[in-house]
Amino acid sequence: MGVGAPEWVTTQLDFVVNWARRNSLWPMPFGTACCAIEMMASAASKYDLARFGMERMSFSPRQADLLICAGRVSYKMAPVLRKIWDQMPQPKWSISMGACASSGGVFDAYSMVQGIDTIMPVDVYVPGCPPRPEGLIHGILMLHEKIKGESVTDRELHRRLRAEDPETVGLPALPARSIDELAKPFGNSTTQNRPSGLVPDRALERPRDRKP
């Protein structure tokens, strides 16, 4: 296509818009537990977040671009998280920092949300317990790459991510079946599904074990 083609204009526009958006993401630090301390450490002098334009931690969701959910989220906190997410204006992104925010972490119990993606959409998951500041920064840079790939003319992206349906405000972000599927206990952990010794505590229960 020639220089004067309309696609050239939009790609240049995309470049500028994405550059502006990613280089001054204002994080909304939704810090609950230990990951929040690592997030604070990322913002401190040694692993400076200011070099990414992110030192202005916006505690008001109305002025934030990026929700960093750092720490475990309980079911009591879930509506608060969802409300904060809903209050953020578009364009907005989210990082699920840590194992607890991504999947429930070590807390597969009655009060913990098994991953915040059941309640709100997530762009980048940062694993770790807690992730090192370098890990969080890696996640942020990954998000920068994602933002670079966006386009203002991409209707599909706009429909999927930017256009929010008022009917879905406050509802879980995943259908019920997916939530149950994701939250099923997994693995062959031999000891973690059995309570204390009042119930016979046998570590080995393979079918071919010989019983006395």
């Binding site: 301390i37 450490a41 401190a44 906190m77 119990a109 317990c129 204390s196 080995l204």
Partner: protein, 424 residues
Amino acid sequence: MSTRTVEYEISRAPELGIDGRPVRVPAFPPGVDPEMHGERMLINVGPQHPATHGVLRLVLELDGETVIRCIPHIGYLHSSFEKLGEYRTWNQIVPLTDRMDYLAPYIYNCAYVMAVENLMGIEVTERCKVFRVILMELDRIFSHLLWLGTTAIDIGAFTPFLYTFQERERIYTLHEEYTGARITTSATRVGGMMAEIPEGHLDNIRHFVDTFPKTLDEVETLLHNNQIWIARNQNVGAMGAEAAIDAGLTGPNLRASGVDYDVRKDRPYYDYETYDFEVPIGEHGDCYDRYMCRMEEMRQSLSILLQALDRIPDGPMNVDDPRVILPSKTAAMNDMESMIHHFKVVMEGVDAPVGESWTSVESSKGELGMYVVSDGGSKPVRWRVRGPSFVNLSALPAMVEGHLLSDVIAVNASLDIVLGEIDR
């Protein structure tokens, strides 16, 4: 025990009453007709808020800017630790303890295994005892540094935050050197520690101890005689000694009110009676005294660290008890009995005898109690954590009623709470 009064050069705000005790800020400013007041306002602080130190929610009933009633709501971080503990073996609970008070993980690790060792009747080795004292005092400094940084930033002073976090980075490096993790250390095991001390680690701790006071002095200069700091902290959130004991306060909050209670002095563990250190006791019980207590505690911790570093003996780190401790890798790989022993300890867990133990240590926030109940199996029947911040926070309403809205933040910060141990 003898007390030594130290004269500090600070100025005290002039609003002391006739008897020298701080007076409560009146609900109505002078000159305003008390009958003239508007409607009460309901303000919700949190649970997502920069200055609540975690997911704490305070519902305030305000008359203008004066707090009439303060109702804290907690439970936004309730992670069912105690229930999870019933499904984990004794050693598997150690990683859970890191995540409760994530600001002083070593203290929780040590307190928990201390309770289990009391339950099992295990006495750890000398080297382990001294090393645990080193770790606990290091994390006391670690926790107070975070408290200092966040309290200053809540009041509005941003610079101490950067100074204290830079020092904390040095302690993170020390954590990482020993355990491999910055925050969630999981350093202890029942009967000993996770590993022998790596070479050079004690020298690095000593280097930290030698170079830390300079930064502490710098931060203190920024705050100590700063008129804004004094105005925001003196006579704010005062609590008397009787009320503090009744409310269940412990730690620097209680000592700032004048009560001389420190678990390390009253019911010493790990030979604390043989260390030469002092416990700072305050006088007025306000935020400024709590600040002074914690600053002085940091210095005392440095002194304990030096003594412990000098006296740490050589010898085995883990107790020589096959019930709890894994055999050495060489033995486990080379002979059958050791391999079976290793297998049993890892797969079935350590068995504790029937019984229970309530053990407490002086954590950076107050008295940390660990109550473990066993029925003879490898998992607890009940694991209860008496988190000091839980009880400290319940005293917050009594401290802020009658004060202004901005004082609520100052008092909340001075209580040094961590929601992980409140909500458990």
